[in-house]
């Protein structure tokens, strides 16, 4: 399982890192062959203004995936800090932090995205930040859960009795034991975030043109669904593939790390 997931992840990473270099054409290069089906020149055909679909998928994937990875990485960082602190310290700190996060949690993603974009402008940076903020509460929860349980384990109390400071205990004795469940959950959240990113771009809240991304490609292609189905199927399959990668990875990791048992 893990290996399948890793192989799929490798494909995605390839796109992210080498995107423009492996695309056969420049994604913005137009040509008179609009809405063509697959051919020797264009493996997946072309879009409405003759741009090569495969290239747009590859470069668009780079954009979409980068946004996803960066946003989730930010959410993970914030979630780790908040979840670990909140879970480990408990009491009032836990209460306050969780309530504050609940406020964010209560906001529908799109409303928040629209609000931010309206207020600060539709830039790439804003999109990433919005997604990061929206997913931070979920991440914090994912961290906090295992922390609440691990902090009661014997080796933690043993460390305390030895005289290890609370901060060191949290980092050295608690954190390493919660990494496994966090990794699995992060993978699942990545699967989810792909959809959020593409949905937001679909609605036009994503990075502005001409940078391609799967969401906006889907939006553009809607009108041409019957004429050139690949223009819709292409991005759709790409989105599903990416999401599936993380789900497969999550399942593989779960088996591998034997999450839930010590």
């Amino acid at each position: 399982m893990v290996f399948i997931g890793l192989a799929m992840l490798a494909v995605l990473l390839l796109i992210v890192v080498f995107g423009p270099s492996i695309a056969p054409y420049s994604p913005s290069k137009t040509s008179p062959n609009s809405l063509d089906g697959p051919s020797m020149m264009h493996w997946l055909g072309t879009d409405s203004i003759g741009r090569d679909l495969l290239s747009r998928l590859i470069v668009g994937g780079r954009g979409t995936l980068l946004i996803t990875f960066v946003a989730v990485a930010l959410a993970l960082a914030a979630g780790l800090v908040l979840g670990l602190t909140s879970g480990y310290m408990g009491g009032k700190v836990d209460l306050i932090v969780m309530r504050l996060l609940d406020v964010i949690f209560a906001f529908p993603v799109f409303l928040l995205a629209i609000a931010v974009v309206a207020a600060l402008g539709p830039t790439l940076r804003n999109l990433i930040l919005t997604i990061a903020i929206v997913y931070t509460p979920a991440m914090a929860r994912v961290v906090r859960g295992p922390v609440l349980s691990v902090k009661r384990w014997d080796h933690v109390e043993a460390a305390r009795s030895v005289g290890v400071g609370e901060f060191a205990i949290a980092i050295r004795h608690v954190l390493p034991m919660v990494i496994s469940p966090i990794l699995v959950q992060t993978s699942l959240i990545l699967a989810n975030t792909i959809f959020t990113v593409t949905a937001l771009s679909f609605l036009g809240l994503g990075p502005p043109p001409p940078d391609p991304n799967w969401g906006s490609m889907l939006a553009e292609a809607r009108q041409f669904m019957e004429l050139a189905p690949l223009t819709v199927i292409g991005p759709a399959v790409a989105i599903i593939f990416a999401s599936l990668t993380f789900i497969v990875l999550a399942n593989g990791l779960r088996e591998l790390l034997d999450v839930g048992s010590r």
Binding site: H155, E157, A158, R160, S161, V162, G163, V164, P176
Partner: protein, 322 residues
């Protein structure tokens, strides 16, 4: 007369009420001393408060009242960093050798951690000290590169003991240190603890439910019931001349690994004493003293260094005056 290493006075721990349950007096005015180089055994059944007492003394459990004084210094009022500094004098050996070692740390790092925390040894000398600790517990120093799961239960417990000894503590609380081990391993670990005590002049608070094992290590024994110490004295006195009915009940219940005697014991009718029967705290106690009136603690000396509580005596039972 040496100053006791550890002095516990009127230690109390009350668990707050939760979800419809009333507050629980887990530890109720417990007092005892431990002399340097001596072991006090703390025995009792589940719910007696013995584990909570041990953790409270180590300041791992918040205390509701009373005092704990180690090496003449009062622990209960100390700030967190002061307590942490004092931890180099008091260490903890927990019950479960399978969970008290960090599963992802090598043994070498586990043993080095206390040394680094308390800066008791120069960094360059840590590996030597780690090797020394392993030899102290009769283990081969070469195996420190391994992880805890590569060792048996008995070996893991030795590692736990080695960690406890790392910073040369004066006092170690052992909470059921051998209950999770097989009988032969138990005997080995008990012997190890015994040897280490004479070698290093350690004091132990040995908490256990197995009275036979406690006898092997304890100089003095405290019997706990319902959060209180009901009897306290030299091991020989408590085991051979118990005064409190609960102590007698407890000793009587211990199975004897001798078929003839054990059969006879089981054949005799077991009383089902009601230790909470005489719960009223008013009026004279079984020794004839009205404590509510005189304001004295509910404790009576029945022999030199041998005392008993007048609480938890079943109705109708009174001490036989010798």
């Amino acid at each position: 007369m040496t100053t006791p290493l550890l002095q516990v006075r009127d230690l109390s721990v009350v668990f707050p009420p939760r979800r419809g349950r009333p507050p629980v007096k887990a530890v109720d005015r417990v007092s005892f001393d431990i002399e340097p180089g001596h072991t006090v055994g703390l025995v009792g059944e589940s719910g007696s408060g013995k584990t909570t007492t041990g953790r409270a003394i180590l300041q791992l459990q918040p205390i509701t009242g009373g005092s704990v004084s180690l090496l003449g210094r009062e622990l209960t009022g100390m700030s967190r960093s002061e307590v942490r500094a004092m931890r180099r004098h008091m260490q903890f050996v927990l019950q479960n050798p399978y969970s008290s070692l960090h599963p992802r740390m090598k043994v070498a790092d586990i043993l080095a951690e206390p040394l680094k925390v308390h800066r008791s040894v120069a960094k360059a000398e840590i590996p030597d000290r780690v090797a020394e600790l392993m030899r102290l517990v009769n283990m081969d120093p070469a195996v420190v590169k391994r992880y805890p799961h590569e060792f048996s239960g008995g070996q893991r417990q030795r590692i736990v003991i080695a960690r406890a000894l790392a910073v040369n503590p004066d006092f170690v609380v052992c909470d059921e240190p051998v209950s999770a081990l097989d009988v032969r391993t138990q005997a080995q670990i008990v012997e190890l603890l015994h040897d280490l005590q004479s070698k290093l002049k350690l004091s132990y608070l040995f908490i256990a439910h197995d009275l036979a094992i406690v006898r092997a290590v304890a100089h003095r024994v405290a019997v706990m019931y319902g959060g209180r110490i009901v009897e306290l004295g030299d091991a020989d006195d408590v085991y051979e001349n118990p005064v409190h009915p609960y102590t007698k009940n407890l000793l009587e219940a211990v199975p004897i690994p001798d078929p003839v005697r054990q059969r006879a014991k089981l054949a005799s009718a077991a009383p089902d004493p009601n230790f909470r029967g005489r719960d009223a705290e008013t009026g004279p106690c079984v020794f004839g003293e009205d404590h509510a009136h005189t304001g004295t603690p509910e404790w009576h000396e029945v022999g030199p260094g041998h005392g008993v509580s007048c609480r938890f005596w079943p109705p109708g039972v009174s001490p036989i005056r010798s």
